[in-house]
Symmetry: C2
Subunit: 161 residues, 2 copies
Amino acid sequence: MNLKNQVEWALHCCAVMMALPDGATLPAKVLAEFHGVPKEYLSKALQALSQAGIVVGTLGPTGGYRLAKKPEEITFLDIVEAVEGRRSTFQCGEIRANNPCLPKKHRASGPCTVARIMWQADEAWRTSLRGVTLAAMGEQLAQDVPAEILEKSRNWLVSRA
Amino acid sequence: MNLKNQVEWALHCCAVMMALPDGATLPAKVLAEFHGVPKEYLSKALQALSQAGIVVGTLGPTGGYRLAKKPEEITFLDIVEAVEGRRSTFQCGEIRANNPCLPKKHRASGPCTVARIMWQADEAWRTSLRGVTLAAMGEQLAQDVPAEILEKSRNWLVSRA
DNA sequence: GAAGTCTTACTCGGATACTTAATGTCCGAGTCTAGCAGG
DNA sequence: CCTGCTAGACTCGGACATTAAGTATCCGAGTAAGACTTC
């Protein structure tokens, strides 16, 4: 079980868009070139972000994508769920219902014990992701990446926005 | 991205084996019948548990599986990792290395910022699973399931052990 | 009758087909820019 | 020279092949039990 690599791409794209001046847009083509990934496929991830209301896409020449909200209002969970879906990673098959010892008209009183524990863990994962905003990630990024590279990349992007 | 349904089956099987008297074994055939799942496929999950040292399988007639340790010493994480593998759900593709602004001989100083955040969330998930032992699950199960059914199932299983 | 041996049937374990989801690619609908013609 | 128009090219958006992973199944190796033969 792996997360789609589109999740990774979407996160990186959002990080990049954060560096844009207000109102400027980046075409998927440029984002794809910057990250070295197939343009057409990356589009699907950006579409998902668009449908989730995280980014907005404008058409025509000089069109492209930009963040729809402030970086402080976008969490990692928002992005991950936009691409991966909101379903829990664990889905209960209700196999307890196949227990041959169950009386005919037995109705399960609540969710399966196993499922409940798995869902708790899933919720812990989501809570962790919910606690990190794009803005917070930007601060951490400034510490991890040399200022020179950061500035160079910023210029490279803005020149094609 | 979904966890394999084998994970669910493995967890239920461990829960069932917890009800066995010491030394008794349950064949995969019986476990499959009890849960209403294909026997041959369930075997794969049990094999994974066996290789991980969570259960032991004995051959021949009256053979089968039993827990290899005490329920207090087996965590949900052990079982999940035995079936799903120990790799993180998020794997970093190092797409930052494709940044065209990077100097030729640039070596990344540490893990990708994005990856680090995702791995933290993954670790939160694992920590949650690590905190629940089979024994703890057994207690919760006793509260969720009527005693009558619990006893009936126990007899059904022991009679075929 | 008891002990040893042999057959037998049952178990797990790994190797083999099939189906679904993820990956990658393509083409069409819509729109803004830029050039061009006309006033 | 300025304005309006038109054509073009670029954008996103959804529909279509290809590949990997998950799902399901089969058959063989090994073992313990039980029946049989022999002493």
